[in-house]
Symmetry: C2
Subunit: 118 residues, 2 copies
């Protein structure tokens, strides 16, 4: 046994219908998750690639959002119709789908402060 070759986390955060931020679930992430699981399995990736739901990935402006590790490729605005291309190009072929990638400068992470105590 071994590490997964790739590990996909789909944001399945939910918010109330009046929340102005919306949520990935409101933008269809549950359907994206199910399509990813089914199509990754159909592509022979069982135990090679794992697809998990995750709590809020903090990319709410880009829902439905997901991330593929270990390469740390972030995708936004993903719909179930995109999943076939994601599976074949990226999960099988190793080539990220550029049109769906969230640019680094739009992600919410922060570069570590070099002055911070290590």
């Amino acid at each position: 046994m071994a590490k997964f070759q790739r590990h996909v986390f789909v944001c399945t955060n939910e918010r109330g219908p009046d929340d102005p931020r919306g949520s990935c679930t409101a933008r269809g992430s549950a359907e994206v998750l199910e399509a990813l699981r089914a199509q990754a399995h159909a592509a022979g990736l069982k135990r090679v690639v794992r697809v998990n739901k995750a709590g809020c990935l903090d990319q709410c402006a880009h829902g439905a959002a997901l991330v593929v590790y270990p390469e740390a490729v972030w995708y936004g605005g993903v719909t179930p119709e995109d999943v076939g291309e994601l599976v074949q190009a990226h999960l099988v072929g190793g080539r990220p789908v550029a049109r769906l990638v969230i640019p680094d400068e739009e992600l919410t992470g922060k570069v570590p402060d070099p002055k911070a105590t290590p």
Copy 2:
């Protein structure tokens, strides 16, 4: 803005009390998750390291289980008492805590089949 420096996923899968596999939640993963969030934040890692809950990570024999990406270090049998060391050594210092790491040969991933259609 940028990618997170590290992204931690804690298995928060739940199973019924009669399920022989147990679950990470039954082994205290919710408390591990909360301790990780609080202590990562206290260490100044807000938006540098993100800590998320995840669905079943398929390492049920090693609960409470979590994984740190992008380095893909898997931890098992983690308790809230381990969290201080995990945060300081790994999330701040970049040095995995060897005593808690799940060995590759005990993980449930599968090396890709080289004969599979690319």
